[in-house]
């Protein structure tokens, strides 16, 4: 009797765990199968420049949106990475206890602000300021990039700070004892904390690339390649967010949108795998 109960319990928990794996394969399967039609009927033209999904002779080209997404993500990540690491280093090496506590608490609250509220903030507060400063539209590349930085900086700072705190004291002390000054010690610590920081970078990059509400609300929505900071743009996710609500189910347009989703999924999985690989490789390199 006891044996049966235990087996039953074990099989129940096993099913729950398997559900997770099933969900991942379900996601891949459904996105792929819904986008098959677009891949077959449009083929490589999916990567042309024009996106006019509801015209009489529709065009389903995602190249401009893809490039805009990539440019926006690279630029914003660059800003977030550099500011994030500087602040994390400050917290780790200079800040006193009060500063640390205040900073980490404020950052945690900001990381809780829903992205739709940040989009709202971008429209109501940042856009008018940009207009006053002379941009011809308030919803543009700069606004999107700024709001995305506010969204992701808390993660970047607290994750890199945590991995800096995990660097053993002996490492920094050894560096000091052979005559390293502030800056050189930081470099040593950064190198040691690299796996954690790379991990933080990955989640930030993924988050920016996949964030929908903010770019949908404040990026401007015009399908032109970005040429200046104040151009309105439309990244991939914004198209998904705005068109999925109105699309006819199982139409070619629907399938093309799923192709975009499939592309997002593939890129995010590739980045995750690549990062896991880098982190493992660096860890082996550090620990010898």
């Amino acid at each position: 009797m006891k044996k049966i109960g235990e087996t039953l319990f074990k099989s129940i928990v096993f099913t729950a765990a398997i559900l997770v794996a099933a969900a991942l394969f379900g996601i891949i399967f459904f996105l792929f199968s819904e986008s098959l039609r677009a891949m077959k009927e449009i083929g490589w033209d999916l990567f042309s420049t024009e996106w006019f999904p509801v015209w009489e002779k529709p065009d389903f080209g995602i190249r401009t949106m893809l490039l805009n997404s990539i440019i926006l993500t690279l630029w914003t990540s660059f800003v977030v990475f550099s500011i994030g690491i500087i602040v994390a280093l400050y917290l780790h090496s200079y800040a006193n206890k009060r500063e640390k506590e205040l900073m980490l608490r404020v950052l945690e609250y900001v990381s809780g602000i829903p992205s739709v509220v940040l989009g709202f903030f971008g429209i109501v507060i940042v856009a008018p300021i940009l207009l006053k400063a002379g941009a011809w539209t308030g919803q543009n590349f700069f606004n999107a990039s700024f709001m995305l930085s506010v969204l992701t900086l808390p993660f970047m700072i607290s994750l890199s700070y945590q991995s800096l705190e995990k660097v053993p004291k002996e490492i920094s002390e050894a560096a000091v004892s052979i005559g390293a000054r502030d800056f050189a010690v930081m470099i040593v610590e950064l190198r040691y904390a690299m796996p954690g920081i790379v991990n933080a970078m990955m989640s930030v990059f993924n988050r920016i690339f996949g964030e929908t509400m903010i770019v949908l609300m404040v990026a401007g929505g015009s399908n032109l390649l970005v040429r200046s900071f104040f151009d309105p743009i439309r990244p991939l996710t914004a198209t998904l967010g705005s068109e999925l609500g109105e699309v006819e189910v199982k139409s070619l347009h629907y399938s093309a949108l799923f192709f975009i989703g499939f592309l997002l999924l593939a890129i995010s999985l590739a980045i995750t795998l690549l990062t896991n690989y880098i982190v493992r490789w660096r860890e082996r390199w550090i620990r010898g």
Binding site: L31, Y90, Y94, Y109, P114, V116, G210, L265
Partner: protein, 267 residues
């Protein structure tokens, strides 16, 4: 060097602080309008209250919890207590991978699987299933760590007293209670603030009545903010402002509880 670092950090701190203040303060005064929390919106969302959105968000989150708590808890128990080392590594990295998938992709999955293929349409149940698909790996990822941190000696002690597998597991759950509550609060915050998947799978801009069955579409706080800002003019903006500061305040409460729990766990 130090001054440059300090300047940057203070600039970031001031920026973040002012974002919070600028979101919360302008909206708070609308809480005191009569009927803000209890009325339906009227006159194309320029008057009345936001009751249906609050109700929708609440019911959506309760449904998500009904799904996520059993599945997430059992799944993390399996990974932490029952599975072989190898399988647990695989399952955990699967959960980690799922955590980094953008939320809009979950929305697409929900649209295709729940709304179209299962025929549930744009409804409360599709939205809650979609959100749950997203929240379960998030829950497992964090819960497993807390279950693992229960010391081995405690486990062996209970087994030595004659407890079976089930009783041992109960003991592990009881002694990692604070950690599991933290996980639960974070999951709550995530489900509460997520917008894009609900927008695709379950939300409507305006409903004249509350959802009465699982297959009715709903209004929620985040999707209403989006809809008002993008579709209506200045006269309706106050309502979005009120909802935005309400959501932010709720999130701050959630994170404060998390901080208290965390301090209690660390002793």
């Amino acid at each position: 060097m130090k001054w440059f670092f300090r300047l940057t950090s203070y600039a970031v701190l001031i920026l973040m602080f002012s974002v919070i203040v600028l979101i919360i303060l302008p909206g708070v005064r609308y809480f005191f309008r009569p009927g803000f929390f209890t009325d339906f919106p009227r006159a194309s969302m320029t008057e009345g209250g936001v009751f249906p959105s609050i109700f929708g968000s609440l019911i959506l989150i309760s449904l998500v919890f009904v799904i996520v708590i059993p599945v997430g808890l059992l799944g993390s128990i399996f990974i932490a207590e029952f599975s072989s080392k190898r399988l647990s590594v695989v399952l955990q990295s699967l959960a980690g991978t799922m955590n980094s998938i953008p939320s809009i992709v979950y929305g697409l999955f929900g649209l295709s699987f729940f709304c179209v293929n299962l025929g549930l349409r744009t409804s409360l149940i599709s939205a809650s299933l979609t959100l749950s698909t997203m929240a379960i790996p998030f829950f497992i990822n964090s819960a497993v760590e807390f279950l693992r941190s229960v010391p081995k000696e405690l486990r062996e002690g209970v087994i030595a007293l004659g407890a079976n597998r089930f009783e041992t597991t109960l003991m592990v759950i009881r002694s990692s209670k604070n950690g599991l509550l933290t996980t639960l609060m974070l999951t709550l915050g995530r489900a509460f603030s997520e917008t894009a998947p609900i927008l695709i799978t379950g939300a409507v801009f305006y409903a004249t009545k509350l959802p009465s069955k699982l297959t009715d579409p709903i209004m929620t706080l985040p999707t209403s903010i989006y809809a008002i800002i993008m579709n209506l003019g200045e006269t309706a903006r106050w309502m979005a402002q009120g909802m935005a500061s309400m959501m932010t305040l709720v999130m701050i409460v959630i994170y404060s509880i998390v901080q208290i729990l965390r301090r209690r766990t660390n002793g």
